[in-house]
Amino acid sequence: MKTFTKHTFKAALLAGAVVSCAAFAEDVSALLKAADQFRLASENMQVETQITTFNRDGSKEKERRYMVFSQAKHQSLVLMQSPAEAGQKVLMLGDDFWMLLPGSQRPLRITPMQKLLGDASIGDIATMSWAQDYEGRLIAEEACEAQICLHLSLAASRKGSAYQRIELWLGKKRHEPIKAELYVQSDKLAKRASFIMDKAAVPTLVTEMVLLDQLSSHKETRVHYLSRKPRTVPEQWLNPMFLAKNPALE
């Protein structure tokens, strides 16, 4: 009888732990979905961004403009719109990537490593959903930026994610993103990110993401979200061979 009680107690403890872990995981998933809402209001979006890179002395190095069609099932199409890159496109279908250069007239199959180009990688612009691309756990409540934050540690659930690990701090009350540390596959800290909200007191949208390179250039890159609207694009727009036709995509 004593043995039975002991086993029952252990089983109850184990079951409780499992239920508690599952609930906790669900909570983290809900937290990430809430945090995503500050950048993406819908699964299928058209987002226009402007990326400005600053040198170490604070002078402006370059400015680029991108149109991103972010769609469900980890699908994104990025159109480069600045004169220096006009006509270039990057298509991301899950873990598969293509780049189209206007001179080549054909989509080049690229590796996830080639996607990490530039001071703000294509991943910074096109991979916007933490809830879809990462699994996380809550580390602790911590003081950050003069408030109490929830510190989450996220691990990429897909090999094609721009960063394999993200340390993310969310506001405790509204779960808006405050800051993040972005780690590449070798677990090196690649960038520190901070998020600027539209209204400090009652934030509803991220207006700008500030990235500080930690690997080599130590430059500051500002990703400014110029416009966002729900948009579902035709399925052929997400076919790499269609993009070689250089359609207007308006």
Binding site: A86, D96, G103, S104, M113, Q185, S216, P240, F242
Partner: protein, 425 residues
């Protein structure tokens, strides 16, 4: 020359002024359908004193030779609106021999009609299909020049196209050069002949699969296949194969007299020809990129053809000493030897190509080598690119070499240096 340069600069200034308006963004953030670029390019070529062409020039003092220095200014304008797409180029050239010319051409001009999954287009259009970098046998609608020092916009072919797209598949049907008549067929190269071409594409996860078919009036049928596969986060593999029923090549004609009227090299047909390519691209986390490609081109001159070419060069050089009064004829024959150098996309059938490049902020240095194992000839290129907020600068040097009897060591140029500035608008 000065008048031409001024006219050219005025024309380019007008296009840039127009482009300054074109760069304004519409409310939706899209470019409003016009864009382009202005480029200034300087080329400096060192002549190869061991080439048959140089020997021919010594024997024929009046023979036209290439300049050592060439300056090029060009403006390219792109337009796309309401289903009409066009690219046009205006170019002016001047060299140190006092030659200058201004010219212009239309790269693309076609209309496109979108009917959901089916798309139709007709006009002059650039169509590129294959997966390789150094060589693309399955670009069966048009073959653009590969491994050029500066990337230039290709010039399209007259086509009528129907295409079908869904999420993972694409089918392209092309009628190439539809206005080419049968009476001209025997006199034109493959790229200009009337032909039907098709490409079937299927995506299976990390694998792109392509199938190609072409049938031309003169060259008959050909079938091809290609794949591109992202094997790991850092490694991409690609391969391509094409089998041609018939192909045109330059062969030594039946009349083999050393000194003869006209060229001994005649266009002749060869049958059942194969082209193969296999390659890989490996990119590191720190953005070092390594490319390796190997290809076989059955349409290129064989080792036996090159042996005949070299023997004929030697015999002609020896003839100068024996028949000094025949200098002009010998010079003409040596100049004709140059024909075989531009007969096909590849000089040798077996080719190996390796390239290293590194993207570091605005800078991109690169070194590549093309090696022909049959005669150990090589082409070595070093380049450096810089991309500013708008301005792009490129410079580099290409050296042709190998053992004295290798084909690359006998080209008219020993090396080429270049510098270019590109301003997009």
């Amino acid at each position: 020359m000065r008048y031409l340069t001024m006219r050219l600069m005025c024309g380019i200034a007008a296009i840039v002024a127009n482009g300054a308006h074109a760069q304004d963004y519409t409310q939706s953030g899209q470019l409003n359908g016009q864009s382009g670029q202005v480029r200034v390019l300087m080329n400096s070529t060192a002549e190869n004193l061991n080439s048959p062409l140089h020997q021919a020039a010594l024997l024929l003092p009046g023979m036209s030779v290439a300049a050592d220095h060439l300056g090029v200014a060009e403006a390219e304008l792109r337009f796309s609106r309401h289903g009409i797409n066009a690219i046009a180029t205006l170019q002016g050239q001047g060299d140190d021999l006092g030659h200058s010319k201004a010219t212009g051409w239309v790269n693309e001009f076609y209309g496109a009609f979108d009917n959901g999954a089916w798309q139709f287009s007709a006009g002059k259009k650039i169509v590129a299909w294959d997966v390789g970098y150094g060589f693309r046998p399955n670009d069966v609608v048009q073959q653009e020049r590969r491994r050029s020092l500066i990337s230039n916009t290709a010039i399209g072919r007259p086509v009528a196209m129907a295409e079908y797209f869904d999420a993972d598949n694409a089918l392209s049907l092309v009628w190439v050069n539809p206005r080419q008549t049968s009476s001209q067929a025997s006199k034109i190269p493959e790229a200009d002949e009337q032909a039907l071409a098709a490409r079937l594409y299927r995506r299976i996860g990390a694998l792109d699969l392509h199938g190609f078919a072409r049938y031309g009036r003169q060259n008959g049928g050909s079938l091809g296949a290609a794949l591109a596969w992202v094997a790991t986060d850092a490694l991409e593999l690609h391969a391509s194969v094409r089998h041609l029923q018939r192909s045109s090549t330059l062969l030594m004609g039946g009349q083999r007299a050393l000194l003869q009227a006209g060229t001994p090299w005649q266009v002749q047909a060869q049958y059942d020809v194969t082209q193969l390519l296999a390659g890989m691209v490996w990119t590191t986390e720190s953005q070092h990129s390594f490319m390796l490609e190997a290809w076989w081109d059955g349409t290129a001159p064989s080792e036996q053809q090159w042996r005949k070419w070299a023997q004929r060069n030697q015999a002609l050089m020896a003839a100068i000493r024996v028949s000094p009064r025949m200098q002009a004829t010998i010079g003409g024959q040596l100049a004709a030897q140059n024909q075989l150098l531009s007969a096909t996309a590849n000089l040798q059938q077996k080719n190996l190509f390796a390239r290293w490049s590194w993207q570091s902020a605005a800078w991109q240095p690169a070194i590549d080598i093309l090696w022909t194992p049959a005669d150990r000839g090589h082409v070595l290129t070093a380049s450096l690119g810089w991309q500013g907020d708008r301005l792009r600068l490129d410079g580099g040097i290409r050296h042709y070499g190998g053992p004295g009897d290798s084909v690359y060591a006998q080209l008219p140029a020993a090396s080429v240096a270049y510098l270019s500035a590109t301003w997009p608008f």
